[in-house]
């Protein structure tokens, strides 16, 4: 047997966790680009640096985003990855598939690309990893044939994503899947044609557990919640206690608002709902006994972003409660106003959160027509440097 060309990577075929190197080798059996990708990666493992560079902008007809141009910086040594572009393909809501669709997708990708993918990329798209410039358009045409469109990249609305929601989660306070599909279809233009100062991300979680990390990872986060009482099934509560759940230590003491009491004699749990902040802890622990209320909607938060430039931000509450029902008019009007304000005022590469920080939350709220309410802040300001609109001083 010939010596392996990739001794370092071969070590990553061992061990219990599934090996990406095995996957690369499988693809390499059928595809030259996958083979050169493997060889170039081995080179990176030796050199301890990457070997990709930015190049010309590439794409498909009619779209400004969805394709990431990628070029090897060692094209003579690894000619099959001289051009190795990524296509971002918009996934279905909640990442639900049937095997027929997935197989069709595999067929298209085997025909046009390396046969390697990420299921899924960090934003949520299906990432088709590696094809050449002349295959982009034919690949897109074949994708369109089987009903897959491209996602976002560049300064556009990035592919939004949502949690599994009503598809399989009893805690979903909003229909995350349907809302995501509707917003994705409504904003196809914003998704496919970069038109903003920078990227704009939107994520939808059905409850404060936030399974898609909407608060830390999106400029616009829509998080399901409720306004009435947690529904309690007293018999099931007692069952949990009888089955060994330590209600005082594990539930009542960890309730952040200390709004629960437990009567050990009668095995009765009482919640002072007005003081509950809907953190989900008790519901997470006793799904059979406790459920979110029935008057449901969402909290809207904005401004989350990664550190790049002035530091990272978590999203901030701007609407404590909004009903989320088709055709989602109130939400869409708000989104339009937010994007318009950002578009008008944002500098190049200034995310929404940074712009709010620069021009002030009060300015932002005024521009989009939202009232100031205490739910927006952890605490009021502690400095006296505030300004008055002459209109207000009369």
């Amino acid at each position: 047997m010939a010596d392996s060309e990739t001794p370092l990577l071969d070590e990553l075929e061992e061990g219990p966790w599934p090996s990406f190197v095995k996957e690369m080798k499988r693809a390499a059996e059928k595809n030259e680009a996958a083979k050169d990708l493997l060889r170039q990666l081995e080179r990176s493992y030796v050199d301890k640096v990457g070997h990709w560079k930015h190049g010309g902008i590439v794409g498909v007809k009619g779209y400004g985003g969805g394709v990431i141009g990628r070029y090897s910086d060692l094209p003579e040594e690894f000619p099959a990855v001289a051009e190795f572009h990524t296509m971002r393909v918009n996934m279905p809501s909640g990442w639900f598939y049937n095997t027929k669709k997935l197989r069709e997708l595999c067929d298209v990708w085997d025909k046009h690309g390396s046969g390697l993918t990420n299921m899924h990329g960090a934003t949520g798209d299906i990432i088709l990893l590696g094809t050449s410039t002349d295959h982009l358009q034919p690949c897109f045409d074949d994708l369109a044939e089987i009903g897959f469109d491209l996602g976002g990249s560049g300064s556009d609305m990035r592919t939004p994503s949502c949690c599994v929601g009503p598809g399989r989660c009893e805690w979903a306070c909003i229909d995350t899947l349907e809302l995501l599909y509707d917003l994705t279809m409504t904003y196809q233009d914003q998704l496919h044609r970069p038109m903003f100062p920078y990227k704009s991300k939107m994520k939808i979680s059905g409850c404060p557990n936030d399974c898609v990390a909407a608060v830390p990872r999106s400029d616009i986060a829509i998080v399901g919640t409720w306004r009435d009482k947690i529904r309690i099934d007293p018999v099931e509560v007692a069952n949990y206690a009888n089955d060994g759940l330590d209600i005082v230590q594990e539930v009542v003491m960890l309730c952040p608002t200390r709004c629960m009491t437990w009567d050990g004699k009668t095995k009765t749990l009482t919640i002072e709902d007005a003081e509950c902040n809907r953190c989900m802890h008790c519901i997470n622990l006793m799904p059979k006994a406790l459920r979110p209320g029935v008057e449901r909607g969402a909290t809207i938060l904005v401004g989350g972003k990664a550190p790049i430039v002035h530091g990272a931000l978590l999203s901030w509450v701007i609407v404590p409660f909004m009903k989320i029902e088709p055709p989602y008019t109130e939400l869409k009007e708000l989104l339009d106003k937010i994007w318009e304000w950002w578009d008008e005022n944002g500098k190049m590469r200034e995310r929404l959160g940074e712009l709010i920080n620069r021009l002030g939350m009060r300015n932002f709220l005024k521009a989009v027509g939202l009232p100031a309410v205490p739910q927006m802040v952890k605490a009021p300001r502690a400095n006296p440097y505030y300004f008055w609109d002459p209109e207000e001083v009369k």
């Binding site: 599934p18 930015h54 009619g62 990442w95 358009q137 399989r168 009893e170 599909y181 830390p216």
Partner: protein
């Protein structure tokens, strides 16, 4: 033929198994039966079993077809993926649950990632496919998960644990709010190749791209100068201009951040905090990094109370105690001096030794 555009993703409802179509939005409760296995019960009494397995995220079409074969055999062709690269097999027939799990285990799919376990690390592209990485992504994740495998397939931890990796500080991946985040870092400013800058780069755009204003024009060379004291190694200039590479085998490496969380359960979302400013890139298995991650997780598992996430545990015991328990040396780089720094300074003499 005019190219069709703006038709959007496949409609998810066409992908749902019949049991979900029927019980959409009508789920009543769920139970965690054992690691990797959930059952959801609908108001109608219908049940849906979910079997979760970890994937390497970077997969071939052969792998996708294999997973499809499994879903055809046990799930009438229905499956989904999670936001953290796991596959979930959606089973409506109870009789198929155990055979499915047995099949998966026999064929090397890690069944787990639910409940008080480590789930699949979110990670980025690394040397596989990005131009600004300070480290690889898939390789470290593989090495770390080989070490932490038992915590994925079993319930041995006090609470959830989310490990994530981003290979540069642009951080495409939700690592900044993870229990343990592995972040690639550069430590040297870009090295300017003046010929390339002159030939290929729009100088004003490069200057504008620098978030710290470290770049200025150099009329003498008709190129650029970087004020090295101001550079924070973000790589934005390299994105704009191939004449300013900053990858470097000695400068580049890995940093470790801990205590972040995303969910609002009990306590609000938190950022991860820097605890190890630099570990070397040591492929293919990054032993320093895997050891550090394992030590942090096992220290937490040993000392935390039930349901206490990494960051909640640290908030209770204090950061100074975290460093003694984990045996990690506190380095000067851990003290913040960026824009919002003073929020992290202590203003009370009440602390632990």
């Amino acid at each position: 033929m005019a190219t069709r555009t703006d038709f959007g993703p496949p409609y998810f409802r066409d992908m749902l198994p019949p049991v979900i179509q029927k019980n959409y939005g009508q789920w009543k409760y769920h139970e965690r039966i054992k690691p990797g296995l959930l059952v959801h019960v609908a108001e109608s009494g219908d049940r849906l079993w979910t079997v979760r397995v970890g994937s390497p995220r970077l997969v071939s079409t052969d792998w996708i077809r294999e997973v499809c074969d499994i879903a055809d055999q046990f799930c009438d062709g229905h499956l989904r993926f999670t936001s953290r690269h796991n596959v979930e097999f959606l089973v409506s027939d109870e009789a198929k649950v155990e055979p499915l799990i047995a099949y998966l285990q026999e064929h090397g799919y890690p069944v787990g990632g639910t409940g008080h376990a480590i789930t699949n690390p979110v990670h980025t592209q690394g040397w596989i496919h990005c131009h600004t990485p300070a480290t690889d992504a898939s390789g470290i994740v593989k090495a770390v998960m080989d070490e932490l495998y038992e915590y994925f397939v079993d319930w041995k931890l006090p609470a959830y644990c989310r490990v994530s990796l981003a290979c540069c500080l642009n951080m495409c991946g939700a690592v900044h709010c993870s229990d343990v985040a592995i972040l690639g870092i550069h430590r040297k400013p870009p090295v300017i190749n003046h010929d390339v800058v002159r030939a290929k780069c729009e100088i004003p755009n490069v200057i504008a791209a620098c978030p710290t204003g470290a770049i200025r024009p150099d009329p003498k060379t008709k190129s650029l100068i970087v004020n090295e004291e101001k550079c924070m190694y973000c790589g934005n200039c390299y994105t704009m201009c191939p004449g300013m590479p900053l990858a470097d085998p000695v400068g580049d490496g890995v940093s470790i951040w801990v205590g972040g969380k995303v969910s609002s359960a009990r306590t609000p979302p938190k950022f991860s905090r820097l605890v190890i400013p630099y570990l070397p890139n040591n492929p293919p298995r990054w032993p320093e990094t895997t050891a550090a991650v394992k030590n942090i997780i096992e220290t937490w598992a040993k000392h935390a109370r039930k349901h206490e996430r990494m960051g909640e545990w640290i908030d209770r015991i204090g950061w100074e105690r975290f460093f003694t328990l984990a045996g990690i040396e506190f380095k000067p780089q851990l003290i913040d001096d960026f824009t919002l720094a003073p929020e992290t300074y202590r203003s009370t003499p009440t602390f632990k030794w």
